[in-house]
Symmetry: C2
Subunit: 252 residues, 2 copies
């Protein structure tokens, strides 16, 4: 009842970005402004909206605007990445141990992750911050030098972490992909880490939005056949999809 209305308000705000109390009143003619105010107050407490004079706006909306290098990046292909992240989140089973990389797609995955009992290793600061909010997720961040452009860590020392840890699954993303050059990224040290990850993990899922296809970055860390599942969006080319399915790689 009350909760339904609050969720509806949250939805509206996420869609419209910003609403005045008057507009809200039009949507909900059967309750008073005061009630709507109280709903907004509650949503504010939950950190989902910001109340501004005259009404409220969605936090998500604000997060879209952005100015910084990293946050800027998150705007590109955001919708596709969120959808990919949602698919990936469904693939994660309880009581497992997995690695997630530090890219922007991974950050969306972190947001979409169910709050279940899993152990996550990551080299992404933003990923870690997101996951830290989930009560049931055990979280370990790999140390090392912080790469400022993507807020991930990379360090030869990371290897020492891996010596004593195990995980079944690695869910990672690449900055670029071509069938010839495989999955590549911008930094050598990151490529090293991901290669190492490939060896440690029993399975590797790759998140790749279609904008990455055809691009080449300096350091290849995996080839087409190295992965087990490819998670992508609807614009993924059909002919390329065949190349994966021919090798028994699940494309979804």
């Amino acid at each position: 009842m009350k909760r339904d209305r609050i969720e509806e308000i949250a939805d509206l705000l996420d869609k419209r970005g910003k609403l005045t109390l008057e507009q809200l009143d039009d949507y909900f003619p059967h309750v008073s402004q005061m009630t709507l105010r109280r709903d907004l107050f509650q949503l504010e407490q939950e950190g989902r909206i910001i109340r501004v004079r005259g009404g409220a706006m969605s936090v998500k909306e604000v997060q879209k605007v952005s100015g910084e290098p990293y946050t800027k990046k998150t705007a590109i292909q955001m919708d596709a990445k969120i959808r990919i992240a949602q698919k990936a989140a469904h693939l994660i089973d309880e009581n497992t141990s997995l690695f997630i990389d530090g890219g922007t797609t991974a950050m969306y995955l972190a947001k979409e992750m169910p709050d279940i009992n899993v152990h996550v290793f990551t080299n992404g600061l933003a990923v870690a911050i997101e996951l830290a909010q989930k009560k049931n997720i055990h979280l370990t961040i790999l140390g090392g030098q912080v790469l400022k452009d993507n807020l991930s860590t990379a360090s030869p020392v990371a290897r020492s972490y891996f010596d004593n840890t195990n995980f079944e699954l690695a869910i990672i993303s690449a900055a670029a992909f071509t069938p010839e050059n495989g999955f590549s990224c911008a930094s050598q040290i990151e490529a090293d880490l991901l290669k190492l990850t490939r060896r440690k993990a029993k399975a590797m899922y790759m998140m790749l939005d279609s904008s990455k296809i055809g691009k080449i970055m300096p350091y290849t860390f995996a080839r087409l056949e190295d992965i087990d599942v490819l998670i992508t969006d609807d614009n993924f080319p059909a002919d390329l999809k065949e190349k994966f399915t021919n090798r028994n790689i699940v494309v979804m």
Copy 2:
């Protein structure tokens, strides 16, 4: 003139997250509220802040992860902590290497840090995110299990990082202090890290707001005489101050 003030307001908001008009008025006593309002309006036009009832908040603040327990904590004694952080920031020289812990005071220090060429080691996620915004700061984060309540990392493996690194200075904060029990914190693993830090660093500066005095936490990691400089606020008791200065510890 006008632009300077506007930029200063933007800076303040980025650091403090949110300010009321009254607080702004305290910062800028020589101009009227109306002028500040107009400044805020302009910053809003530029998309850098959001005006909320009573004042404004930084867009960057919103873009950070919202609603986590950590941000709540930051409200306690915020003003004192910021002042302490400002003092500490002035003590940092260019071309040095230092360790900063992961507490909330440390996060304010990170915000106040000048963007100079230094190498910073930290075990704080929030600290790292802040410092990552500064172009000239080399940043290394210690890996390990993430403690969700204070967004810092702790791990026995952190030791392996320290084996190959050196820093002149450690600037840390404590959760509690009494003359008898020294500086203490809530987690054993964190205490271990800080003890180790003490041994690695040539000098140790302690940031301690006066609300911590008289409290005792389970794990002591340093005694009164272990530190070189104590950075605190104006409410620091005079008799206690003497105990430090008697041992040639600078209190500021």
